[in-house]
């Protein structure tokens, strides 16, 4: 039996996508999701597992009708889904008001229960969130009864406030596979046994790396999982270290170059570090050539040889300023204050002469 596992799609979310974006990112997430369904049909996948947080917020009736329609069109694939901490089941949740297609097996109760799929000799176990946080380790005792040929646990959690999970305990449960959701970074928790598919599309500028879904196969011999990169865009962090020669123009050019190299379709977060020419100030607003920079952090400091300056100016204001802050941590506000103060005093001196 083969299956595709997705999780944390967060339909309805509109992540930061820079100046260029005009709401397309939100649509891209929907498109990605529908494309996965298309693949299920194309490849005639047996099972589609959705490990929670399909929606970013409470789903609307019309939204559910749409996805139910798409599910319904699948000729072979069976769909099993649970609700996560974002689209948790409330009393008035629309999840409960839809007449799901025949091939959809929702697990919307809030305690462990199962869906039996005779054609696949399979039972999928799981439960849905009924509130935003669950601090108990609810999967620790969720042992597989082993009365079906294949048993899969469909789970959502993995941090302190959302069902903490211990690898060892998970291993002891005895399933053929544990499909995990909630952590947005795809990762194999236990080789070919338990894995987070990660979010289908990256949802935040710190969710770098490739995103997509897991393709798996379960046979009598065991389970095999493979990550399939699929997301339309990536968030990329660019660390640039400047030096005294780097003018604003040069920096702008360098950033443009790096973006072209890494892909102008992707989305970027730029981190600037290093020591710059004290007279140069980088105009942050002007560095976004392609309109796809989400954030720029300027950690550069003016290049001064502080010890030297101190030695030469011990008696006067400049020396005292340096002396006052010299001992502070380089990342601290005090150190920054020293950099700013020194450059201002020296700049004022430059002006006078």
């Amino acid at each position: 039996m083969n299956f595709i596992q997705i999780a944390d799609v967060h339909l309805g979310a509109a992540p930061e996508a820079g100046r260029r974006d005009d709401g397309q990112r939100e649509k891209e997430i929907w498109d990605s999701f529908y494309k996965v369904i298309d693949i299920c049909e194309e490849k005639q996948i047996d099972l589609l597992l959705i490990a929670g947080d399909l929606f970013h917020r409470q789903p609307l009736l019309r939204e559910l009708k749409e996805i139910n329609y798409h599910f319904g069109k699948l000729s072979r694939t069976k769909v099993v889904l649970i609700a996560g901490n974002h689209d948790y089941i409330r009393k008035d949740s629309r999840y409960l008001q839809i007449a799901w297609s025949e091939n959809v097996y929702p697990l919307f109760e809030t305690t462990l229960h199962r869906a039996v799929i005779e054609e696949l000799d399979l039972a999928v176990y799981g439960f849905s969130y009924d509130r935003r946080e669950i601090r108990e380790a609810r999967y620790d005792e969720a042992y597989a009864p082993r009365d079906m040929k294949y048993e899969i646990l469909l789970a959502h959690g993995g941090d302190e406030t959302h069902i903490p999970i211990k690898k060892a305990k998970l291993k002891a449960l005895g399933y053929d596979y544990v499909a995990l959701g909630h952590i947005h970074k795809p990762q194999m928790l236990l080789k070919d046994y338990a894995a987070f598919s990660g979010s289908l599309e990256p949802l935040d500028q710190n969710e770098t790396g490739r995103h997509g879904f897991l393709l798996g196969e379960i046979t009598e011999k065991g389970t095999q999982i493979r990550f399939v990169p699929f997301a339309k865009r990536q968030y990329i962090h660019l660390h640039l270290t400047v030096d005294i020669e780097m003018t604003h123009g040069a920096l702008r050019g360098k950033i443009k170059e790096e973006i072209e190299q890494n892909g102008t379709a992707e989305l970027y977060k730029i981190i600037l570090e290093g020591q710059r020419d004290p007279e140069i100030v980088y105009d942050i607003e002007d560095l976004d050539y392609y309109g796809n920079i989400v954030e720029i952090l300027d950690h550069t400091v003016p290049a001064y040889h502080y010890e030297q300056l101190y030695e030469r100016n011990k008696e006067n204001l400049l020396g005292r300023l340096i002396g006052h802050f010299m001992e502070c941590e380089p990342e601290s506000i005090e150190y920054q204050a020293m950099c700013e103060g020194v450059s201002a005093i020296l700049a004022a001196m430059e002006e006078r002469s």
């Binding site: 309805g12 409470q58 954030e295 300027d298 008696e315 103060g341 001196m349």
Partner: protein
Amino acid sequence: MIIRELYLKSFGKFSETKIELEEGFHIFYGENEFGKSTLHAFIRSMLFGLTKGRGRAAKNDLFTKYEPWDQPSYYAGEMTFESGDRTFIISRRFDRYGKSASLVCQTDGEILSVEQGDMDMLLDGMSEAAFENTISIGQTKAETSADLGAELRNYAANYYCSGNSEMDVERALAILKERRKTVENRQKEIRKKKQEKREKVEQQAAYISEEIERKQAEEEQISKNIEQGKQEEKRIVRTPEEEQSTEKQNVWDVVKIKLLPVVFLAGVAGISLLFQGILKWSVLSGAIILEIVFLWKLMEAFRQAEEKVQQETEESREAEKREVSLEHEQERHREALRRMVVRRELLREEIAEKQMQYENLCEQGEELMEVSEEYVVLEEKGRAIQLAEDTIRHLSTDVRKEFETRLNEVSSEILCAITDGKYDRIFIDENTNIYLLQGAQKISVGQVSRGTMEQIYFALRMAAAELMYEEEFPVILDETFAYYDERRLENTLRWLAENKRQIILFTCQRRELEMLRKLGIPYHVNG
């Protein structure tokens, strides 16, 4: 620095005049109009240049004052001086068309540039204003201790503009403030973008909220209509049935009533006939008439009853017709009611959906309130700049205070020396009131004589010159000792001889000369 030669090419009333100066006391003695102030001005002009003022100021400024009487178009001079181990010649021309300045080192032939600040460097950064406030001493213009205190404060301020530290604190603070503004502006940009997004979401939410209200109002209206309809329904159903039942009763009642007397009459007639037997014919006819009447009455009763029944059948048929049409009305009514109920259900669903949408939008709005990392970094930067500003202010106050204290100390030393120990100390309190300490006694400067005031003035200036500059400059005294008594003069001259390399004194009295002679201090005199 030692001034070696003054060469007045064309300055004031002087033309092609060279004056050599020595170390030690150099006295220019002469009555007024001798040119003492011209020479004083010349030295100053050679050190700092001379520019013509503008507009009204031009009439009485120095430039105009010393413009050569004979040849105003040639206004120039040269001065030779020693600084460090080298000798320099500075040459200046002040007239408008030939205005220039050149500086040459006589010792090694190096050509320096006045424009590029080489003269300033040799002067250790002393400005013209500082010159006036330190080594060029006239008579005090300070009448009160407040003025003196203000002067002291001035020195401290000048300390930053001239002297050792070329640090312009105010400018540095201004630069920092500008930077802070830039950071704040960027933060504002970020906030604005967020705000725009938020407003869009809020607008959507408001729109949906309106729709919800509208639909809820509609729902209410429909609910009311449904209630009304239900009431209507009840009323229509009750009436026709009741009417029918009451009518049915009446037909038979009528017949019964009419028959009763007829039956009774018949009965009476029959019985009486029986009991009468072979009665008279009249009785028999009477009985027959009675029987006829009885029959007629009976027939009438039946006829009436028939009529009644017919009437009633008609009426019931009418009633049936009415019933049918009423039933139709009822059906229509019920149909309308059903439709309203369905519509209401739909509305309720729509409202629920919209409310969910509204909630989602509110959540989205809240998510937008979150602060980005960039904003946090900027926030930190802003705080760092503020910290720099505060620290600089704070430190510069420290430096200023220290300088004031030192100034205090050194002027006290000098004052003590020139008053022969009479006053040990000057000090200034927070309100710039100056006090003198005489032994243990505190004397306000307002209480002392003009002469003492002059000495304090002198001491302050000498102390300032010492503290602000590395270079030792010649002291230029212009009628300084007019108010000094013998004792004071003696002490001061002695102090000068012991502490200064070159003292240039302009005076119109012989006192100083004679005192120097008396003290055995060597001097040179021009005059």
